[in-house]
């Protein structure tokens, strides 16, 4: 019968802006829940992403083809661990081992030109270079001919700590540990932290295992690092290597961790954390949604007369519904934006505190803001429909 067109976009936007400007303090409080909810969703996705990136970094350097063996004492035995193991025998009996090396670690100060720093002294063999994926920047790594020499290969951070701008630590320099001078034959490249490794190469000085007795009377093997050839079954190698090592030990057990199991464990852990955050986000979003609904219901009852006037002027039910729905969504949109900023800040702070690199997760903002807007829409529908169902004459009636 009549030509009716939808309200034009410019009109709708103008209405939303006017309402946004006149929203009271009450709505700020209602927004709090929305902000918390939206920020925890954004933070959750981003922290989860950063945790995954960080875990990926650890295993990129360590690789899932590396096994670390530990030797916990059997029962109450306090017999010290042996100072050497026949690793060649292990290599022979377990096919698929590419590199194998033992570490005996002892900590203490290193002195160079009067400067002192603390480092791990790692007594080891030549093959550890490939087992631990060490990269030499200058010089060479230890070789099997160095067994009786006072040679050392120094980690990047230790080298930095012993250097000054005018007097850098160079190849051929001698560093002092206790009363022994060690010749620096190699300087390692900066190695990323390898979480599963018992020692950090950056903070270590690698010396021949046989020479450990010079600085420490009773050296013990702490770990054996095994690197498998590509495409091997890690579980089998771990099992076989454990039994081969056990045959050489009397008072100690062999405990080999398979990286994949640890990755799985870490994933489980971070998933639990993510679920926890998700639950927090969902609860505060629902709480915030109820707050928005409350504000909108009060808004509708306060503006009954306005609704009546608008209806008298020709607003249809859907115009009234859209008006209040748009207000609810505008309100939540403000909350969602604040939440996005807050959530990103929280994720950044968390990454900073955990020492992770901060990376923006692609899904964090769209998902966080989108779910918040959906909540606003969901909880805005009831008040908006209630407003649109008012009869014009009732809405206009003086209270």
């Amino acid at each position: 019968m009549s030509l009716r067109v939808e309200q034009s976009l410019s009109q709708l936007l103008h209405e939303a802006l006017v309402s946004l400007r006149t929203l009271g303090k009450r709505s700020v409080l209602a927004l709090l829940g929305i902000v918390i909810g939206s920020s925890s969703v954004v933070a959750l996705i981003n922290i989860g992403h950063n945790a995954a990136v960080d875990a990926a970094m650890i295993f990129k350097d360590m690789g899932t083809d590396t096994l670390v063996a530990q030797f916990p004492p059997k029962g109450n035995s306090n017999t010290p661990m042996r100072a050497s193991l026949d690793l060649e025998a292990v290599r022979r009996s377990v096919p698929g081992i590419a590199h194998i090396g033992a570490l005996s670690v002892f900590g203490g100060p290193i002195v160079f030109h009067g400067r002192t720093t603390n480092a791990n002294f790692v007594g080891t063999t030549a093959d550890i270079k490939d087992a631990m994926r060490l990269v030499v920047r200058d010089g060479r790594f230890l070789s099997s001919f160095d067994a009786s020499e006072t040679y050392g290969v120094i980690g990047d951070q230790v080298a930095q700590a012993l250097s000054t701008p005018g007097d850098p630590l160079k190849l051929g320099d001698r560093i002092r540990i206790n009363d022994y001078l060690f010749l620096v034959v190699g300087i390692l490249h900066n190695q990323p932290r390898a979480m599963l490794m018992p020692v950090q190469a950056n903070e270590s000085l690698f010396i021949p295992a046989e020479g450990m007795r010079r600085i420490f009377p009773t050296p013990q093997i702490g770990n054996v690092i095994i690197r498998a050839a590509p495409g091997e079954n890690m579980e089998r190698i771990a099992h076989d290597a454990a039994s081969a090592l056990k045959s050489q030990l009397t008072d100690h057990d062999v405990d080999i961790q398979v990286p994949q199991q640890m990755i799985d464990g870490m994933t489980r852990q971070s998933r639990t954390f993510a679920y926890l955050l998700l639950a927090l986000g969902a609860i505060s979003l629902v709480g915030g949604g109820v707050g928005v609904m409350n504000v909108m219901l009060m808004n509708v009852s306060e503006r009954r007369r306005e609704i009546g006037i608008r209806m008298a002027l020709g607003a249809r039910q859907r115009d009234i519904r859209n008006l209040f729905l748009l207000e609810a969504v505008t309100l939540t949109a403000v909350g969602a934006l604040c939440g996005a900023v807050l959530g990103m800040t929280a994720a950044w702070l968390y990454a900073w505190l955990s020492g992770w690199a901060f990376a923006l997760a692609a899904g964090a903002l769209p998902l966080g803001v989108g779910s918040t807007l959906l909540v606003g829409l969901f909880f805005g529908i009831y008040p908006a429909v209630a407003a649109s169902r008012l009869q014009p004459v009732e809405a206009l009636r003086d209270e």
């Binding site: 034009s8 020709g314 115009d319």
Partner: protein
């Protein structure tokens, strides 16, 4: 706007209209068997004591309330068969309301208040503001366009309300005690404005009032008494 001219002679045609409420378990009859016909260009006063049902009659005439029985044709549309959206469309295009308490939206500027009815027609904001400003000029409020209703005097507010009622070029203006909240001089101005519109633009004017002086200036006087309607001077 008045494209669908009705076949019936009267713009407004009520027959056997009745309205009753259930209030606290009591059956309350407000209007009984009201028959009324109003033509295009008429000016009518609806008079009656408080509680006589004149406001209910105005609400029914203005499609704000639906009668319980009878027949009502507005500009050819059968009100009983119209959907709420149709009623909203008729209100928007055919009826301009002027209320005793002005009923302006306090949060909107004068200009936006006047432009509001146009927004429910899908007119773009720019265009509706132009038309609204034009209408404000007609009622002499152009320099107040950006003031809020609260910053205006009573007479100015009512002129603003009239501008809003007129912006959609309605065929009927329904005014409920339009001068009830104004002093006599301002009331005089408002009545002059309404009558001028009726006279110059052939806008049908229906005014609810209890003021005999106002009624005197209108062509027809419809008396509402105990839910029944009589027309004075037309027997």
């Amino acid at each position: 706007m008045m494209t669908d001219t009705p076949a019936q002679p009267g713009l407004i045609c009520l027959q056997g209209i009745g309205k009753s409420y259930q209030l606290a378990g009591q059956h309350l009859s407000i209007l009984n068997d009201v028959c009324l016909s109003i033509d295009r260009g008429d000016s009518c006063g609806i008079l009656g004591a408080s509680g006589s049902g004149k406001s209910t009659l105005l609400n029914i005439l203005g499609l704000l309330d639906l009668p319980n029985c009878g027949q009502y044709h507005f500009a050819g549309h059968d009100i009983f068969n119209a959907s709420p959206d149709d009623l909203a469309a008729i209100r928007n295009q055919q009826i301009g309301f002027v209320f005793q308490s002005f009923n302006l939206l306090p949060r909107l500027s004068a200009l936006d208040n006047v432009a509001l009815p146009l927004s429910y027609r899908g007119v773009s904001r720019h265009e509706s503001l132009e038309q609204a400003l034009c209408m404000l000029e007609q009622v002499g409020l152009a320099e107040r366009a950006h003031h809020r209703p609260a910053d205006l005097s009573g007479g100015q507010r009512q002129r603003l309300a009239i501008a809003r009622a007129l912006v959609g070029k309605p065929s009927v203006i329904l005014a409920d005690e339009p001068t009830g909240n104004l002093d006599s001089t301002t009331a005089q101005e408002i009545m002059d404005l309404l009558l001028a519109l009726n006279h110059d633009q052939q806008v049908t004017l229906i005014i609810v009032t209890h003021d005999a002086h106002i009624a005197e200036r209108l062509e027809r006087k419809i008396l509402v008494r105990n839910g029944a309607v009589h027309e004075a001077g037309r027997l």
